[in-house]
């Protein structure tokens, strides 16, 4: 059996530390991973933990749904865009409405190719001020994204004014996820000398800068706050915390201590992948690529309603045509992302999806783009693309796994209900 990707990276004969990792980069928390039993694998140009020795991937997954897990996501790329031209730039390259995005609020979005409307990368955009935005993009897309942003900034409509763009290369980014996240983070803040932040008032999609008094004497950058966003990639309540370079190890260690091993464990890419899949979330390069539009990807909701009339963003004509009904000049997308429950064997990326109702019963109607056994449901879940109208929930399908046909059914996503911290119905966040 091939165990590639599951085992620690094979050590090289050379003992030179700078070459022994095959050119992979380390995040600020590398030593924490290694000393905590992290099995390091290459991911997006970084050496990242796929799991830790204390829990299997399935157990780490369940731990996250029942307690809390801490993920190092420092491999992801953090950007700052500021200046009078920042909002117009984002309105050109994404289908989001910056006018509707309040300060200290975030939205899922994507960078788009001109004309085709294909997704260059998915991203979360956070507004930090009238002319200041914070974005997080995928590590695996870093080179592409940077080339794309350089080009988009250079060739933008300069009548809106200047854009300053900075990649926060050495900043830390951790994700604290699970139902105990808020209790743990609240305690971590209080014990770091922060008394005036009530996380109960920070709702899903909101963020807050927090200055950690406790670390002031230890840090060379005493006044740089951390940025706490109520967000995540697991479907659970939780936070993504952007940490200045000098504080990354200290604050992460502090979080782990405040959580305690009975509540909080480190979790790796393995659990992150099965958790996001249960939550119905896409992984770029697998469920999304630059040939796929947001409509085809089942992400029509990220095309903000304020942008649907006027367009004016890259690929707008193509995307808005896909959103219109066919009898109103629209054109249905050629394929659509769906969720599948598969009987018997788990269907993995690449598995062919077959339409059993087709007269030619071997008709391949799409492919699986992500799939795994769901630890929460005890069923095999998958995402893939099929030709409309086969994307409708309840449509019976078949998936080919190692040459055998397995019954499947199109289902609504998320597979596991999300449990975000939202204001109770009828009240508004203050």
């Amino acid at each position: 059996m091939k165990l590639a990707g599951l085992l620690p990276q094979r050590r090289q004969a050379s003992s030179d530390a700078s070459t022994s990792n095959g050119g992979l980069k380390y995040t600020a928390l590398h030593e924490v991973h290694v000393s905590s039993g992290g099995k390091m694998v290459p991911f997006g140009g970084y050496s990242m933990p796929v799991q830790y020795s204390d829990l299997s991937v399935g157990d780490s997954h369940k731990w996250t749904r029942e307690k809390a897990s801490l993920f190092d996501v420092g491999h992801m790329v953090q950007h700052r865009l500021c200046g009078p031209g920042a909002a117009p730039l984002l309105e050109k390259i994404t289908p989001s409405s910056t006018a509707s995005l309040q300060t200290n609020h975030s939205t899922l979005s994507c960078f788009l190719h001109p004309l085709t409307g294909g997704i260059v990368d998915d991203t979360v955009i956070t507004r930090l001020g009238p002319e200041l935005f914070y974005l997080v993009t995928n590590a695996a897309c870093k080179a592409n994204d940077i080339a794309y942003l350089e080009e988009q900034i250079e060739f933008r409509d300069t009548s809106h004014g200047a854009v300053e763009w900075e990649v926060l290369n050495d900043w830390g980014l951790v994700a604290l996820q699970g139902p105990l996240s808020a209790v743990i983070l609240q305690r971590a803040l209080v014990t770091a000398g922060v008394e005036d932040v009530d996380l109960k008032a920070l709702y899903f999609g909101q963020c807050k800068h927090v200055t950690l008094n406790l670390f002031r004497k230890q840090s060379s950058e005493p006044d740089t706050p951390i940025l706490i966003s109520r967000a995540g990639y697991t479907g659970e309540d939780g936070f993504e915390i952007s940490i200045p370079p000098a504080l990354t190890i200290a604050f992460t260690t502090h979080l782990l201590e405040c959580g305690g091993r009975e509540r909080l464990r480190l979790a790796g890419l393995g659990a992150r992948d099965s958790l996001r899949l249960e939550a119905g979330m896409c992984l770029y390069g697998h469920d999304l690529d630059d040939k796929t539009t947001p409509v085809e990807a089942g992400l029509s909701w990220i095309v903000h309603k304020d942008r649907r009339a006027s367009g004016g963003f890259h690929g707008g004509e193509t995307i808005l045509r896909q959103l219109r009904p066919v009898n109103d000049g629209g054109s249905a997308p050629k394929h659509r992302r769906v969720g599948l429950i598969v009987e018997g064997a788990p269907a993995r990326e690449g598995a062919e999806i077959v339409n059993p109702a087709s007269p030619n019963s071997a008709e391949v109607v799409g492919r699986v783009t992500s799939g795994c056994p769901s630890p929460t449901l005890g069923k095999n879940i998958a995402m893939g693309y099929v030709k409309p109208p086969l994307h409708r929930a309840g449509t019976p399908m078949e998936v080919l796994v190692r040459g055998k046909r397995r019954k499947a059914e199109v289902v609504q996503m998320p597979f596991v209900k999300s449990r975000y911290w939202k204001p109770a119905t009828g009240t508004s966040p203050s």
Binding site: M1, L3, L6, V50, Q51, K404
Partner: protein, 127 residues
Amino acid sequence: MNVHEKKYTEEHEWIELSEDGKTGTIGVSVYAAKSLGDVVFVELPALDAEVTAGDSMGAVESVKSASDILTPVSGKIIEANNVLEEKPGTINKSPEGEGWIARIQVKDGGELENLMSMDEYAKFTAE
């Protein structure tokens, strides 16, 4: 050399011959089972399938991955461990015992000479 000695492949399967040396029991190693994590599905080999050493004869699935099981020797599959269909986790509990995967009618016992002994495999996995 004891022909009934359990042998291992570099791909982490084991094979142990019967008294008469005609059939072999195949499974995955303790080391592999630990690396896989919780096994949730086993694709068993088809009975009577003729296989050549190194062929994929089945698969083991955990949350994070699917791993092909490669037959260590050539021959014909004569039995599959059906317990694994209902209880795939048996592979985690006892990968080199109750969690065996299949029995094979060995075509050429000489093929086992290419495989590693338990000591050699222990050294291989410690590298």
